[in-house]
Symmetry: C2
Subunit: 393 residues, 2 copies
Amino acid sequence: MSTMPSRLAELIGKPVNDIDTPALVIDMDAMKRNLARMAEFAKKHNVRWRPHAKLHKSASLAKMQVRAGAVGVCVQKTSEAEIMAAGGVTDIYISNEVIAPAKLARVAALAQKLAAQGGHLAIAVDSTEGVIRLAQAMTEARSATGVATVIDVFVEIDVGQGRCGVEPGAAAVTLVLEIRKHPALRFAGLQAYHGKAQHMRSAHERRDAIAKAVEAVVLTRKLVEAQGITVDLVTGAGTGSLMLEAASGVYGELQAGSFMFMDADYAKNERDPAQPQFEHALFVKTQVVSTHGGHAVCDAGHKSHAIDSGLPLVHAFDTESELEFFNGGDEHGILRPAGDSKRLPGLGRMLWLIPGHCDPTVNLHDFMIGVTGGLRNGTVQRIFRVDARGALT
Amino acid sequence: MSTMPSRLAELIGKPVNDIDTPALVIDMDAMKRNLARMAEFAKKHNVRWRPHAKLHKSASLAKMQVRAGAVGVCVQKTSEAEIMAAGGVTDIYISNEVIAPAKLARVAALAQKLAAQGGHLAIAVDSTEGVIRLAQAMTEARSATGVATVIDVFVEIDVGQGRCGVEPGAAAVTLVLEIRKHPALRFAGLQAYHGKAQHMRSAHERRDAIAKAVEAVVLTRKLVEAQGITVDLVTGAGTGSLMLEAASGVYGELQAGSFMFMDADYAKNERDPAQPQFEHALFVKTQVVSTHGGHAVCDAGHKSHAIDSGLPLVHAFDTESELEFFNGGDEHGILRPAGDSKRLPGLGRMLWLIPGHCDPTVNLHDFMIGVTGGLRNGTVQRIFRVDARGALT
């Protein structure tokens, strides 16, 4: 974890203009509106929400989400879970498979630590071997400390993502029965996240994809219940599809994380009228360092923003001409006029980029600079450390 | 800068098998052979070499390069220069434009600091405004400390990259004359890097591109010399084209950095017989965490390796079946059999990925684990901190 450079600490209370570039900036007003909209949406649909902390990797923001009504957070990595716990988050779900015995020992230790605080750890599985190794790690932790802890285990079913998860139906039942053999494991429900549906452009395609996911969940739940076992919770959903899972009557918990910041890729989706209107709240501030040959060059390249879901958009304030961003490599962005405009920004001109994909963009930065009062005339309010930046194991 | 977790420190002397995943691993034997080949190549061609530290961002590796004969290192960012200097590197060239007055003040302070140690700072410019602001910063530093320091300034010309740099010819002369007005600035030569040429697949295309770059340099040098001003040095070249610049008789310094690690993208280039045979020396160690539906899933996604230049390759040891890597998102990779093989790796199986692009891959990690004796049966020898990870300003 990085210590905060004095240059950053000194920014608090200063105007936005003083932020050197490139820098990752949160429009805190927009972020808080997004948070309120999500809380209201979940309440209206009577579902729990457990936002994915892999987006912001910040314990402060996770706690802000819990204060707004979230039941806790999801993470993808054991080390992210450890860092969230160290930062005071007490209800954590590792929505991913962990196989390495060395990591499972850490999972078991964390389950004990959180339980001692009245908190809670959960994890996903998709293999018998994974269940057995997890149970083994929990048993070893019990032997080492003398304390018996139970960890919640979700069976992941593949509802269309084509990545992890067993096939819906009988294979899931086999895993449920395996989990119930081990006293340190509690079968907590089904993990049914459809990642691909998040980025389907048309609302129609997304509706079809989530309808199929719901069918797969219903089928699996029926088979599990036929064994006399209750499925307490179905957890899943992302920002692109959450209105569909929320209305399904099947999903009890939403994992959407991106709604806090909203990236350029999500903004390309045809909007479902039922979706809350989330705003862009995360920006890369950059400035022009070179102007030659009909283009301008800014100081943000793909070491400042992730490009796996496309290049960033240039945020246009009302009175400014539109610009298109082209790939300039690791450290540079190339800007050309877009639309009818022929005007290029001059040397030193500040620009704001909307990242194509927020999660891996945040992971490039050690700190996020929180601004209130807008990007133009606002003030630096807070510095958020990206606590789990680079937490890969 | 991150503190080293005890889990990493305890790895030293342990077998490669003990490295948890995902992790960035250097095959130190291969890296040292690459270093020796580069030193020999530069000697044979009688050119200086100043490898780009934006690749490894490690002061330890920079100093290893200097011990092998490099004159110093290049960096792209002011903060990278500061971090290299703090790590004991004394000859640094910021091969990029710096425009922000706050950053130029840091550049001037660093020039003074290095000069006091008998070291040296240089920087690139491509605008009159940039020269004036740099001179202003140097003057202010002199006023503040009472010490007069001179900074070396290279005029960047655009030799085909289409990014920064003035047009070759008269525009460069204008800048040279501007530099010479300021006593704290010394005109040190021309920066002429052709980034696009590095990734042209055919040797023929690369030869043509660098031949044109050489013409542009020769034209510009002639015009500068017509003013009675010497062009002491032409600096440029990357790993994909260095044999061409080295043989040109015009370039006096090679900036290639990637040769240390070699990524999957460079390996796709048709090999020029004159190019030293560099080996892959940087790998992402990963393991299989899920196997369903005819594919395996490993725990390395694009938070573990950059995908701007394509997905990673799966390193095949002699006796293993070939695998193809598919994008599985931020945290996962999807593996399918390639070629004639139908065999999939089992749960927990360790795999080694060759990143598509090393520079931004290194920037995702806080540490690189140095191994000797090979990836299969080797031993962890050293942990290298990625000192300048996330150094963006």
